[in-house]
Symmetry: C2
């Protein structure tokens, strides 16, 4: 199959794709299992260490500051150990890192409400920008917090990974939304929001623009989804008022999760519409706490075992 | 949704199922992350501690020994913390534990060739037995070794979990095999075996009855599949000669993996045909080393990032 990497390969049986990216094996792992970084002064993501990352591609920074110098609030740089590349043949794509704070904070939950809003604003900007590349079919925004969630760096950060392929799980959601739209003439996510607010038992937050619900069939204990009330296919369409409420809600969910579930590792992922006509989709965030491992049963079957009933999880998240 | 557990629930958007099983939260976790059990004498799976498990449902034991007493080589007991139940309404099923050795061994790789053959023989027996229950649509055999692979007990064991549902990933493989059969008039796994042996670069073992290949699009570094050369839909159809070679091959793969990849945690999973007409399927085992975590990108997209090219992994496994 040649030896140019990264490479995108399809499973010979099912429609499952894998990025073969030996470069990523070279990334340093400063986080041991369940451990924390001992020496913050060595962190390449802290303000003053800009020379230790590739040149920034975007930043929110002071008017009198310069690119790749101090004076920023949010900073986006190319991933030093990318899983895809603009020079890659089969694995075309972009892989960026968003550094969420100039100071060394370990969790998005520790950021101020303004910082969380800044982070969510930068996602909007990068998605709008990357949408201009016609070769990118999907751009995945995600966050790994803690070693058990796959993080190798402690400093709060997220990743933006765009590929020429619409990934399998995104495609499955998109197809399901399209099928529901055809069958019922409505959006499956809009109906879900309405049903969950009416039922009430899994609601964590129901605001003017944004709702947070514990997923009724969540894969993980305390799995929580954040959705806009307004039907909207692409995250980059989010308005400022929605963005403010989303930031406050995300911060609240993460802080309550830390209290209710013992400060777990977690992933935060965005599902937004792929390139092309996608009006039936409805963007949303999923917060996936990693209190329980992914074992052989889950890997073999795709069926998860969740040890905390979602209604109980929601009651605890509301009660904190 | 009621509060009778375990419960089987479907995701409101995609065809993904979750077992809500609060009982499993009560299971003791003797394994810390990356840690080992300190006091073997406290292990409920060791010979002489039979009273600490539920009554055995099957065992390979000495002729003069008694059920639930010492004198066994392999022992199957109900899982004390089941994810499904025969009394459960939506989550009907069986959940058993196979204790693989009377002595305290931590890995299947440490068992003798005869013990591994005994383990694989017991799987055959349990699958044939559980096949008689018409309510079970699929029986999953799997093994978690090491905390990073989801194990909570150190003593070598595997699990057998049967459900009334054919799980999503098994269904996907089965449907793909059926579609290939329709399109090409051949088995997709038979063709894979032929192609891989011909190419050679990912072959670890090619024997009379069994082949072991590193998966060309493996999700994990060193992911290795073991398949019978003979087309056979159900694992319980395995013959004794095949079983002997499978046992020797499984043991060799696990031992070489430990040497080549630094004794990683791993899962071993069986894919076999679901209940009903399934002649187009071809059973196989997958060894999934857990050297790299499952992070936000994988969870969100279903696309994995593998840092070791499969051809390199195969060369290392052959070279050990």
């Amino acid at each position: 199959m040649g030896d140019i990497y990264p490479q995108l390969r399809r499973d010979p049986i099912v429609d499952r794709w894998v990025l073969i990216a030996p470069e990523r094996a070279r990334r340093p792992t400063e986080l041991e299992e369940a451990g924390h970084l001992a020496h913050h002064e060595a962190c390449p993501f802290c303000e003053g260490h800009e020379a230790e990352t590739p040149h920034e591609v975007y930043a929110l920074r002071d008017a009198d500051s310069s690119a790749d110098g101090p004076g920023w609030r949010e900073r986006v740089v190319p991933n030093r150990f990318p899983a895809v590349g603009r020079d890659a043949d089969s694995a075309y794509g972009v892989h960026e890192v968003l550094i969420e704070s100039p100071r060394h904070e370990a969790s998005m939950a520790a950021l101020t409400a303004e910082q969380v809003r800044d982070v969510l604003t930068v996602y909007r900007h990068r998605l709008a920008e990357l949408q201009k590349d016609p070769r990118l079919a999907y751009v995945q925004v995600f966050k790994n917090h803690g070693a058990a969630a796959g993080a190798s760096v402690e400093h709060a950060h997220s990743q933006i990974l765009g590929t020429a392929l619409v990934p399998r799980e995104v495609r499955a959601e998109f197809d399901a939304a399209a099928a529901y739209q055809s069958a019922h003439g409505r959006c499956v996510f809009c109906d879900l929001v309405e049903r969950e607010i009416s039922a009430g038992e899994r609601v964590v937050h129901a605001g003017e623009h944004v709702v947070a619900i514990v997923a009724s069939a969540g894969r993980f204990p305390y799995e929580t989804w954040l959705l806009p009330r307004r039907h909207s296919a692409r995250y980059q369409q989010i308005g400022d008022a929605e963005l403010n409420e989303l930031a406050a809600t995300m911060r609240t969910v993460l802080r309550r999760l830390a209290t209710a579930a013992g400060d777990p590792a977690y992933n935060v992922i965005l599902h937004t519409a792929p390139a092309g006509d996608a009006s039936q989709f409805h963007w949303h965030w999923e917060v996936l706490p990693r209190t329980t491992g992914i074992a052989g049963y889950e890997l073999s079957t795709g069926c998860y075992i969740n040890t905390v009933p979602p209604e109980e999880a929601a009651a605890r998240l509301r009660g904190v």
